[in-house]
Amino acid sequence: MSWLSRLNPRGPGTRTGRHAAPTSPCTADPETCLMVFENHWRQVSRVLKQRESSVGGYADDLTAVRNHTDQMLCLLAEERPAGGDIDSPAVGPILKMVVAENILDELVQWHVRRGLDPDSQLELLKLFEMLIGQSHQPLLLHSAVLQPLLNLLGACVDPQLGSPPALESSLVLLLNQVCVCMAKETAVLELIFRCGLVQQGPTNLLIFSLLVPFIHRDGSLGQQARDALLLVMATSASNHSVARHIAENSYFCPVLATGLSALYSSLPRKIEVRGDDWHALRREDWMAVSSLVLFMNSLEFCNAVVQVAHPLVRCQLLDYLHNGFLVPVMGPALHKSSVDEMIASTAYLDLFLRSITETSLLKTFLRFILLHRHDNDTILDTLLTRISSNSRLCMVSLSLFKTLLSLNCEDLMLQLVLRYLLPCTHVMLSQRRAVRETDLYGKSADKFLSLIPECCRITPAPSSERDDELAFWGKVLGSPTSESPVHPRPSTPSRLALFIRQQSSGGQAIPPSSGSENAPSSPRGSVSSPLSPDSPVHQLPDTSEGETGYLEYLRDARKGIELCSWACRDWSAPYDGENPSPNSVPPPPPPPTSHPSLNMVQEHFSIMDRPQQRGAVVAAARAEWSSSDRDSGEWDVTISKNCISLTPRSKKRSLLPSSIPLQSSSSASVSTEMTSAVETVSQHSHSAPHTALYNGMGQVELTDSVDEKMEVKKVKRDSDVNNRMVESGMNGSMGIGSVDYNDFHVGSTMKSSQVQVKPHLQHQTSVPTSTQECLESESQRLSPVPALTETSTVPCDSRGPESVERLIEELLERAPSEPLTGDSKCQGISIEAFHQELRELEERVRERRVLSRSSEESSREYRTAPTPSLTDEDCLPVETEQHSSETKTESYATGVFSPARPLGPPLAQPYTGPFITVLFSKLESMMQNSLYVNILLTGVVFQLACYPQPLLRSFLLNTNMVFQPSVKSLIQVLGSVKNRIEAFAATHEDFPAMLRKARRFLVARGKLDWSDSPMGVPTLRRSDSLIKSRKPSLGDLILRHTNSPTRARHAAQLALAHVRDGGQSLHSALFRGGAASGASGLEKQAEALRVKNAVYCAVIFSEFLKELAALAQEHSVALPFPPSQGAEE
């Protein structure tokens, strides 16, 4: 029990040698000490006996008694046991006297009788604390010490009102000391329990009940109380009657559980985030938020109690957690209607799951997620639908599912996927046997690799770039030329590390292969022939500098599969298509016909109405514009704190308007007004539900221990720093969030913000002022080119002519983010139609390209002014509000009339479950997903594909399986993505260059993230290794594709270098040039966003295919683990 060692008794080591050296020399000889003690006691008892005397002597009496008591107790504390053996040391003479004459009791009673003023209480508490803490003898074993102590405590603390604030720290410290003693001398617990029984009746474990109110306190006080309580828990773990008492007669469990509820309700409703790639709370995220720290402390305490407490207490606590925290608080929180709150609650749940280490506590959470129904849907259903939503919510949800998958929990996997595959209706009857087959000869792997689009095979870059990249990859894996081709090298993934090591040491570690002569000749040629050019190690760097990763993918895959099958070794069944038998399983739940909660998060736009849809594209562009805006300017590179190391220097951004001649003043003012409006909204958003949520908890006395000041302040401070970034980074979803508050809480505020924005909108797009009309018509008006002439004619600085290609290239370099349209697919828009739409846009851009060239000739250069970007940013909340309301009304229609595909095929057909369905549809729209969504998404699929259960493995990875026609296979989905990427590349001649840049950016960014935050996730003290193993930090994610330390370092340096030399920056300014065409800024944004997402998608897609191929190969060489001993009875 490691926390025991952590509990440091205050006295530095004074008592450690107690047992070891019972006869160690005393400072003064025991005889003398006893005489002095007796002397003091005589003085005191004189005073005690004349207690009836006059009032006048009051102060003097008290002072005298105090002085003498001080001396006496010091003597007692310093007395050492008088010999005896270690197990039962003889009682020292002073203690003997104290016991015989019941001295302490008399003292305390005297104090109590004369009325304890706070000062004396404090004095006495401190005295006792010193005595208990420093004594060399186990004082508490004597009821002559224990009883007065309990009396004193009883006198100091009012059972109803608790302890006076001034006493708190001394009280808790004393209690802590008592508990430390208790942990050392288990008998003390029994004694306390019995003493209490006589005195306090049912609430007898006074020490314990006194500590309970401090459970959720922050700072060292709370920590001491929790430590002390844990000691009681551990000590009582084997004491049934005490455990029973705690469970039946104390408020410990309810206070702990409902306290969590209270603390949860004070968490920020909305998580302010740093970057558009944020998707999970890591330690450094929440350490700065004190309410979250408080919550995590308490959760950690729960975890610890579950770990050490008696089963009775543990079960009660888990019950209370389920019924007093999860169901009444987490449940509703997860079902909040505002996107912000969904994001927050999902991220919290993810954080909690990652932080819990105790199996039974985890079980409580999982049971809640899998079985608890909130409004007819299980929590799991609700969470699943969120994956199909947009950007941030999707990312947070994916992150949560990644965490869930990493638990390797059979019950979860059963509900999530396996129960849908169990009946085997998804495969042709004749194929059922093939479920267990592995990919012996790499056919599936080959199939996956064959899907890598031709356009993504890397072609040599222009020499200038190539230098960089060569340096890059060369250092990493060794270029073919740098090693001596004498001996065949080990080539399995697990040997790569070796291989690299050899290289770095420069030596040839492999002995000369003298054996080749002795060996009987192999049937075909010499086995130990010189290194063939086909050696995987050599060949890959040769063919393309970017494809070196396959060995690492193999290694990752092996690690993933091994870990997973180790973790699954105690599952109840192999899930191999025979056990459990397909014929005996209950039919899985049918696909939802229409899913209300799914519609709730829809953020798409109907395809039926062309102009509207175009509006959607534009809106996407706007969202993108604003979100990427911060990428455009300067970048701060913070390595120490942020995990996202490249943060835009947002202050700079706000200066931009001043450089713009036209519109600047108006837009600037609008922008600030808007910002403040949004801020008010978010503040409301904090306060309104905050109070509402407090309803859930009945423990009034708790509220004072809850820091009600909450985090509004803190959050605001953050938003001061990167106000713009956060707001724009939140993108569409944030806008929706405000809308919800608008609807429910803060209507007036929001209204005003709309009005404030209006004039500006008008200015830009010349749409009617009438609010509603304006919003509705906007989407139709914005996209046609002419509507925006005004913005596009804003002249800016006169830099040299720049091509559209260059513009796109630069756009590509910016960090991607999710367009509003990105997910439209999942909600039922046909992707083809969307494509069509985009193609039209593309056409237009191409026309304009021609236009722009002509305009270049006439040497009129324009540059898209930052102004529109600013205004767009400001418009954003309104924009999205409009869309969301649109969506809301539409979703009804969708539910009833539209042929839009819900989450699954119709009832009669085999259904592979909502999880697979949503993942596949998200994969299908990879081209439109933001980079970060794709990284998370492929990560989740990767993890899913690590599971060794043949049902799941064959469904995902066996490309030879024949499924029922209605069942979509992963390979089909990927095939369609491949086609789209190729179609895209065919229309963009600069695709290779963009691809190269995107790849370089990703590698560099991944390195930075990684080197930046080696520690991902909060850990509870007791098992960091475990938690680290399932940390899904961002760096980790991006690094999934390239994780070797050496490579990381090089890449980080390289990336930094890039960032530093401004001109060549990875994130060169947005729209610096090339907007000279007659094109509208908005459409350019839409196009740019589309291009960017597509190119990043191409990179991720290719890597993902390698990952899948590696998984298929590694599965074929993986061995199952036998179940652990005693797992199955």
């Binding site: 280490t357 199996t359 985890l362 079980k363 999982l366 079985l371 638990l407 390797n408 059979e410 019950d411 059963l414 129960r419 592995t438 990919d439 012996l440 000869y441 790499g442 792997a445 080959d446 065949p488 080539s491 399995t492 070796l498 570690a509 002995p511 003298s514 054996g515 002795n518 060996a519 009987p520 192999s522 049937p523 075909r524 040629g525 010499s526 086995v527 130990s528 022939s529 290194l531 086909d534 995987p536 190690v537 060949q539 494809e547 193999l554 870990l563 180790w566 973790a567 699954c568 070794r569 599952w571 109840s572 069944a573 459990p580 290794s1025 190969q1113 074929s1116 060489v1117 061995l1119 199955e1128």
Partner: protein
């Protein structure tokens, strides 16, 4: 005791003297997870692979993983008395040893090498060559090669596996087949003078066993070599075989989460351990 092979430093230093015999009941626990010691194939073979594969560059991976997968199958079969180990230098060469526990060849310990064609699995069947030519109708008395082809006239991918070859190599010592022998002398004796045949077999077994502690014929870090029991060297390795690799022992606390009752497909169907009240 060849576990966590790759993890410990360069292959040269440690692998050049692999003196650990495959003692212990099963070789399986130590090998499969950490240290499947497969080396890349020297291969014109990959050309055939890449011809039907998409990426020429991935061809070697396919061959190597095919062989690894075959090796995995061998492990899964748990063939009695047979141990194999791919060589360090090439996955196409496997070292093996067969222990014969009863019958004519009882107490025989036969070391052999398996040569796998480099166009596996599309080529001929693997060849099995005994280090010391065993006196047996199906074993060439000079080269020591076992007649494998008779059992696998045509090697069919997906149907034929290397474990079957190994199984076959074991079977011949228990069930003597005299048809079309590679060693006609043995057949003649078997048919005409069984006593002499038996004594020749005994001699052959003795001969093989007398060479047991010889240096491996092929100098390879992963070649199987025997040495007399030496507690200093072997005790630890033996211990290791009976234990799980440490990494797994202290694996994630929350691994193996399952509350599903065997036979059920309902989550949380397993009853909680009842509390003693």
């Amino acid at each position: 005791g060849i576990s966590d092979g790759e993890e410990q430093g360069g292959p040269g230093e440690q692998r050049s003297s692999p003196t650990h015999p495959p003692f212990g009941k099963k070789q399986l626990p130590s090998i499969p997870k950490n240290a499947v010691p497969i080396t890349k194939a020297a291969s014109p073979a990959s050309s055939t692979e890449s011809a039907n594969g998409t990426h020429a560059s991935y061809g070697p991976f396919y061959l190597e993983y095919s062989l690894l997968a075959e090796f995995t199958l061998v492990i899964k079969q748990r063939l009695p008395g047979i141990y194999v180990q791919p060589s360090y230098r090439s996955t196409l060469m496997w070292f093996g040893v067969i222990f014969i526990r009863h019958g004519l060849y009882q107490d025989g310990v036969f070391k052999f090498t398996v040569y796998i064609p480099d166009n596996f699995p599309d080529g001929d069947c693997p060849r099995v060559i005994f280090d010391t030519p065993v006196f047996h109708p199906l074993v060439d008395s000079v080269s020591g090669e076992l007649d494998v082809r008779r059992a696998f006239t045509k090697w069919r991918r997906n149907h034929n596996h290397i474990w079957q070859v190994l199984m076959y190599a074991r079977t011949i010592f228990y069930k003597i087949n005299t048809m079309d022998p590679l060693n006609p002398e043995a057949v003649v004796l078997y048919d005409k003078d069984f006593q002499l045949f038996k004594s020749k077999v005994v001699d052959s077994v003795k001969l093989c066993n007398s060479h047991l502690f010889d240096q491996p014929k092929i100098d390879d870090p992963f070649a199987i070599s025997f040495s007399p029991w030496n507690p200093a060297v072997h005790e630890e390795a033996k211990d290791k075989m009976f234990r799980w690799p440490e990494d797994y022992n202290k694996g994630p606390l929350v691994s193996g989460l399952s509350w599903v009752k065997p036979g059920s497909t309902q989550p949380f169907s397993k009853e909680d351990i009842p509390l003693q009240t």
